[in-house]
Every structure is written in structure tokens, then in C-alpha cells.
Amino acid sequence: MEHYRRHALKQRLYDTLFQVVALAGLLFAVMVLMWLLYTVFEDGIGRLNKQFLTSFPSRRAEEAGILAGMVGSVLVVLLTIVIAVPLGIGAAIYLEEYGRKNWFSRFIELNIANLAGVPSIVYGLLGLGLFVRWMQLDRSLIAGALTLSLLIMPVIIISAREALRSVPPGIREASFAMGATRWQTIWHHLLPISFPSILTGIILAVSRAIGETAPLITIGALTFVTFLPDDLRSPFTILPIQIFNWISRPQAAFHENAAAGIIVLLCITLLLNATAIYLRNRFSR
């Protein structure tokens, strides 16, 4: 008896201890985040005005603005979505619904899973070699978007396959038994049913894309851009690069610009995610 009592007491002690540690960890993470946000807002909120949002970079901090980076980031990400989402979902549909399950498909599967874990700078190098040099797209918007597309496609493929696989088998059976073709079954049932989960994967992937800096620096996105891209072949810059550029300058005024830029980046990320979550909730009745 005595032994059991002591054992129970010990277990309860462990339990409490674990709770304390977990809570401390959580508080620490939240506090760091709050502190980060606080300092960013304190430094940057004063700079966040119309002039800042509508100006190009400049040698004088008070005349500089975020416009080029903002437009560049949004355009690159939109283009990336347009390229990577259909390709990613298409690949997932092929692998899940059409492809035979044999050693070759398992090999491809393994490769996609590995690609999702490759450091982003490697994609930058690939983009530089493939799109910028070989396809001679130069340091353009489209080269950047293609590079980011490669980067996020594995994530989209994996999550879309997962979503397709989780459609109840009864639905597939019912549709096929009615004489539907594979494509009709995919179009009328599998895609609508798995759409919310697919969207979740896309949200994660796109959130990653908008914050990625390394691959775009590698392919040569510029740091000082005083014009807006007018076609897919235009040079461009993106928010993180602009922010980094300002931070690395000695003058305090530029640091304020950087802080304001970070606020803009956060807002765009939140906006993108909010849109996606809204869409997801609308479609997942």
C-alpha cells in the first residue's frame, strides 16, 4: 500500500512539474513575441503614413518608401500562386487518382517528401541556373515566381494528396457505380470535398513563400528599385530584401523605415491568411 501511495504522489509531482515547465515555455514564447511586436510598432508606427506607402526607396530616410517592395512581394506571391497551385493540385490528382501504385510512384513520392525539406537557398541556386541563366528570364518577376513555385510545390502536392486520400471511399464508390468517369468523380466530388483541406495546405505554403528571402536574393532580386514592374520580365524587389537593406544601414532613421516595413509585411501575411481562412470556412459548410 505504502509503495502505491508514494508512487501516486510522485506521479502527481511530475504532473505539476510538467505543467509549470510547459506554462513557462508558453509564457516565454508569447512574451518574446509581444516584445518583438512592441519594439517594431514603437519604432515603425510613426513612419507608417501615405508617403511611406507610396514612395520608392531613397538615399534620404524620410523620403524613402516601401512601394516597390510591397508591390513586388504581392506580385511575386500572386504569380507564385497562379503557377504553383494548379500544378501542385494537378500533380496530386495524378499521383493519387490516376497513377499506378508501383515502385516508380513510390520513388516519386519519396522524392517529393524530400524536396519539401530542402533548404530554400538550394531552390535559389536552381532558379538561378534554370530560369535566370538557362531560360534567360534574367532577374525578373517571373523568374522569382517560378523559383518560389518550385519551393512551395512539394508542400502543396503533399497536403493535396492527403486531402484527396481522406475523402470517404463510399463517395468514390457511389460516383463510379453511377457510371461517372474518373474525371467526373474528381470534379464533382473529390475536389469540392477536399477543397478546405487543400486550401489549408496552400495557406501554409504561401505564408512560407511571402517570407522567403534567400532564394530571391540568390536569383538576384534587386535592393534598390525605383519603379514598379510593368511586365513579367521586369526586375523587382520584395519586402524582406528592402527591410534587410534598411536595417543594415547605420542611420537610425532607416531603422524606423525597416520597422515600418516589417509592419507592412506582417499585415500582408495576415491579410493573405485571413482571406484563405475565410474561403476555407465558406466552402467547408
Binding site: 501504385k101 470517404p168 463510399g170 463517395i171 464508390e173 457511389a174 460516383s175 463510379f176 457505380a177 453511377m178 457510371g179 461517372a180 468517369t181 467526373q184 464533382h188 466530388h189 470535398i193 459548410r285
Partner: protein, 252 residues
């Protein structure tokens, strides 16, 4: 022209290396109900799924022999599975309506056949729902999600969905085993009605049900067809000892 609406001639089916059906020859005359009974795992569902080629979807399935619909082999080269399935409707053990409205569930068969005439679709949906004895219960809520229906209603909806494209044969795999007694009775009544227009092959674990709804009954055991006879004969006067043991509840 064959006497039977659907039939199998010397059909064997293998899942990889295991044989699930052994040399089965059996025919269903037009406008008759044939019940398949037998212990679990004896190949009833497998046999049923021969007729709409749903076994094709499983990797490693091999079929030998002939499966005939209106005297034509549906496993012959050049036969499109989709065409077979449009003529042979199926109702599954677990109700499996699409997560769409009641209306869209029934209209699905028309939509995938490229029918766009709104009037025609509406009329067909109503006719099918009436045939499935569901119309009165749902006519005011056609836009409601099919998933909001009760299990028994869902199963009748699945029957309506199959009927909408006017197949000539209906396969039913234990269609009321997941339902309450009243829904069960409704489905049985329905089968009586449907027999006038359709040829029905039904799998059931419930021998009373087989006795009530079918004209002929086939007893399967370990992938073999043991006995096939008029229902009243099979239940009152089985010729094979295994059949006798099964229907008197000595095994299975």
C-alpha cells in the same frame, strides 16, 4: 438472345492468388428478384460487383469466364465500364449519399450524362424520388443536404439516385442491414414495387428477407454456388446438406 437478363458462365475471380469465386454459373431472368445468401466472406459482395465491374477498381483482381448483360459479355474488349454501370445501378450496404443537396444527389446521374434541360431534370428527380417512396417526405426540402436525412431516408435516396438514370438492373448489397425495422420494411416493399420494372440481384444476411422479397435464391459457400432454386423450394426443401445447415442456423 439469352433467356437471362444477367448471368455468369463459369466465372472465377481471384484477388491476387486467392480465389474468391469458383466457377459460378447463374442467371437472373428479367423482372425477377434473386437473393444471394451465405455466410460472411463466401463471396456474395464479390459476385454482385461482377455485374457493374466494381471489382475492376481493386488492384490485382482477375476474372475468368463470361459475365453477360442482355446476352453480351461486359468484360469483352471495347466495352466501356461507364456504359455498363449506367445500365446496372447499385445500392450499397452503408447509405452513401453525396454531401450535396437531395436534389443534386438524384440529379447526379443525369448531370454526368450531359443532360442540361432543367425541366427534364426536375421531372426525373421527382419520378425517381416517387419510385423510391421518398418524395412525400422530402418534396419541400429538396435543397436540404442529403446528410441531414435519417439512415433509412438516405438509403431510399441512394435508391432514387440509382433509379434516375433508368438502369435495367439493380444490384443491392445488404441494402437494409444498417437500418431499423421500419425502414427495412419500407425497403422491402420498395423492392416488390421495383420488380415490375427492374431486374434485381440482392445480397442479404437476413433469411426472412430473402424469403420475403425474392423469387429465386442462391446459396453461396466458400466461393462456390451450392444451390440455386426457387425461393420457396430452397427454404422449405433444400436439396444440399450445406444449404440445409445454413438455413436452419447450424452455421454462418
Amino acid at each position: 438472345m439469352s433467356y437471362f437478363k444477367i448471368e455468369t458462365r463459369n466465372v472465377s475471380l481471384y484477388y491476387g492468388n486467392t480465389q474468391a469465386l469458383k466457377n459460378i454459373t447463374l442467371g437472373v431472368p428479367e423482372n425477377k428478384v434473386v437473393a444471394i445468401i451465405g455466410p460472411s466472406g463466401c463471396g456474395k459482395s464479390t459476385y454482385l460487383r461482377l455485374f457493374n465491374r466494381m471489382n475492376d477498381m481493386i488492384d490485382g483482381v482477375r476474372v475468368e469466364g463470361e459475365v453477360l448483360l442482355n446476352g453480351k459479355n461486359i468484360y469483352a474488349d471495347g466495352v466501356r465500364v461507364e456504359d455498363v454501370r449506367k445500365r446496372v445501378g447499385m445500392v450499397f450496404q452503408k447509405p452513401n449519399p453525396f454531401p450535396k443537396s437531395i436534389f443534386e444527389n438524384v440529379a447526379y446521374g443525369l448531370r454526368i450524362n450531359g443532360v442540361t434541360n432543367k425541366r427534364y431534370i426536375e421531372e426525373t428527380v421527382e419520378r425517381a424520388l416517387r419510385q423510391a417512396a421518398l418524395w412525400d417526405e422530402v418534396k419541400d426540402n429538396l435543397k436540404k443536404s442529403a446528410l441531414a436525412l435519417s439512415g433509412g431516408q438516405q438509403q431510399r435516396l441512394c435508391i432514387a439516385r440509382a433509379l434516375a438514370v433508368e438502369p435495367s438492373v439493380i444490384l443491392m448489397d445488404e441494402p437494409s442491414s444498417a437500418l431499423d425495422p421500419i425502414s427495412n420494411a419500407k425497403i422491402e416493399e420498395l423492392i416488390w414495387e421495383l420488380k415490375k420494372k427492374y431486374t434485381i440481384l440482392i445480397v442479404t444476411h437476413n433469411m426472412q428477407q430473402a424469403a420475403r422479397v425474392s423469387d429465386w435464391t442462391a446459396f453461396f459457400y466458400l466461393g462456390e454456388l451450392i444451390e440455386y432454386a426457387e425461393t420457396k423450394d430452397l427454404f422449405t426443401n433444400p436439396r444440399n446438406e450445406k444449404t440445409q445447415n445454413y438455413i436452419t442456423g447450424r452455421f454462418g
